[in-house]
């Protein structure tokens, strides 16, 4: 559904993304892993239209969206859950969700029903309905950010570092929810520093290093790849072996 070809983007003279090519098929969870500053967030923001690409192509359902503004990209079915949640902190949880459904408004959808669908996925949001979003805990804010994005009925939902700053138990919840979203027919592009967790639920993965894709393949292959293990999973197979010999 999403195809990217030779994409280049950056800030002013700084080139961050260098000839990125990748694709996402319907119903997949695809993950992009990479270190800080590799260009993961820049890539998501470029797809979302918040950063203008300098070269290349991004096509969503065979439609080039490289010059499309962010508002229309959301309407076309591609939503981003940004890093750091980005709540409307001075608005209530319900208002946050309703605003998330902004692009669906013209379709005359039943708002109560829409909200109920989100509350079914994230029951805690129902309890917090009238609370200001800024008063929620980190995990609840992440759920609200995801719920808000889902209100726009995205075909492709992009998530930027959903696990950042959350307790391990909550991270587990969040990943379980991502898995359920896929089972419900959503397509997910997941950007994570927590490579192990991301690869565990993803179908395929790309490894981004200094703005280039250096590795790609099925998630299992990446999990077993020595370079990936050394660089992103904190295991060094070769020295582990050496240590065994010493013992």
């Amino acid at each position: 559904m999403l195809k990217i070809k030779n994409l280049e983007a950056g800030y002013g003279k700084l080139r961050v993304l260098k000839r990125i090519s990748m694709h996402i098929d319907t119903g997949e969870i695809v993950t992009i892993i990479g270190a800080n500053g590799a260009g993961k967030t820049t890539l998501l923001y470029t797809i979302a239209g918040m950063i203008k690409a300098t070269a290349g192509e991004i096509s969503l359902y065979n439609q080039n969206i490289i010059r499309t503004n962010p508002e229309s990209i959301v309407a076309a079915g591609c939503s981003l859950v940004p890093e750091g949640r980005q709540m409307f902190s001075t608005l209530s949880v319900k208002e946050n969700l309703v605003l998330g459904g902004y692009v669906q408004r013209k379709q005359k959808v039943d708002q109560k029903e829409e909200l109920q669908k989100i509350y079914d996925i994230f029951p805690v949001l129902k309890e917090r309905e009238d609370q200001l979003a800024g008063t929620l805990s980190g995990g609840e804010q992440q759920m609200l950010a995801m719920g808000r994005a889902l209100m726009a009925h995205p075909k492709l939902i992009m998530m930027d570092e959903p696990s950042t700053g959350l307790a391990p138990l909550i991270v587990k919840d969040i990943f379980a929810i991502i898995n359920r979203l896929r089972d419900a027919g959503n397509t997910v592009l997941l950007v994570e520093q927590n490579a192990k967790a991301a690869l565990a639920i993803a179908d395929r993965g790309y490894v981004l290093e200094t703005g280039k894709i250096i590795l790609q393949g099925p998630a299992e292959d990446l999990l077993n790849n020595q370079d990936v293990q050394r660089a992103y999973l904190g295991r060094d197979v070769s020295t582990e072996g050496a240590q065994c010999e010493l013992d």
Partner: protein, 296 residues
């Protein structure tokens, strides 16, 4: 001071207080969506009054005011579209200087069209001499109009922001512009809309106040400074606080006559502005920790 005089001063203070509060709310609306102070806000008040006065020659008063408000709103939208909308990531300072330029431009155009003559709208009910007696004090009915219209406007605005979808979108842009865009909300349209809205309420204020204060091409900057003082006093972006701060400034100004000669009345608000900026830059009702997160 006898109670009668006291009451008169108080009413005068409240009348001006509401006017300042409305200018300050105009500042707040634009500040919330863009993060800038629109120094052409006082000019919107002037334009509202001037258009209403001119149109009143051919239209009945209520229609003239309604038309003046609509025209001023369109001017507000036009200014934003022409001078601010197309800027790509402008700095706050650049936008503020643009609004100062706009205020000079509007004033000079107004001078060109209306000259230096002092105009005024007729009293909405009665005339200069008619009074209503409240608690023994004689009050001009226009004062009641100013107070009434201001209260209605402030209430309508808070209902608008709370319950309408457009109002929610504007608050969303104020709370988090990035997130608003990621929800598919067109933040640029919201900025245009905020200029329209604050031009509109400025024009309403300019019309109701005109019979009492008179309208001239250059009343804008004075009002802008008072409104700015009030907005800062209350804490930028907070409209309820603006009303309280507006009444406070109006009353202080009005009662200052007892101790300070009338000629120095203008200095009162400037002094308050300076003191506030030195001592409590986040305003009386703002919180310092949130103020430090804002751009200025």
């Amino acid at each position: 001071m006898n109670p009668d005089l006291f009451f008169q001063y108080m009413l005068a203070g409240i009348t001006y207080g509401f006017l300042y509060a409305i200018v300050a709310i105009g500042f707040n609306i634009i500040y919330n969506t863009t993060g800038i102070i629109n120094f052409a806000q006082g000019e919107f008040v002037m334009l509202g009054g001037m258009f209403a006065i001119t149109l009143n020659n051919i239209l009945p008063l209520p229609l003239a005011i309604a038309a003046a408000v609509v025209i001023t709103m369109l001017i507000g939208a036009l200014l934003e579209i022409l001078f601010i909308r197309w800027l790509d990531n402008p700095s706050v300072l650049r936008m503020i200087i643009i609004t100062i330029g706009l205020s000079i431009l509007i004033r000079e155009l107004a001078l060109h069209f209306w000259g230096e003559t002092v105009f005024s709208l007729p009293y909405f009910t009665g005339n200069e001499l008619s009074t209503v007696s409240i608690l023994g004090a004689k009050v001009s009915p226009q004062v009641l109009w100013v107070i009434g219209v201001s209260i209605i406007m402030v209430t309508a605005l808070s209902l608008f922001f709370k319950f309408t979808f457009t109002g929610q979108q504007m608050r969303a842009c104020a709370a988090n512009r990035l997130a608003a865009r990621l929800c598919g909300i067109n933040a640029k349209n919201m900025v245009t809309f905020s200029f329209m809205l604050s031009a509109g309420i400025g024009a309403v204020a300019g019309s109701v106040i005109s019979p009492i204060t008179y309208t001239q091409y250059d009343i804008g900057p004075g009002l802008a400074i008072k409104g700015f003082t009030v907005a800062i006093l209350g804490g930028l972006g907070n409209s309820v606080a603006a009303v309280i701060a507006g009444l406070l400034l109006g009353l202080i100004e009005s009662f200052s006559i007892i101790v300070i000669p009338l000629a120095f009345q203008e200095a009162v608000s400037i002094s308050i502005l300076l003191i506030i900026l030195f001592v409590r830059p986040h305003g009386l009702f703002g919180r310092s920790d949130t103020a430090s997160l804002k751009e200025f």
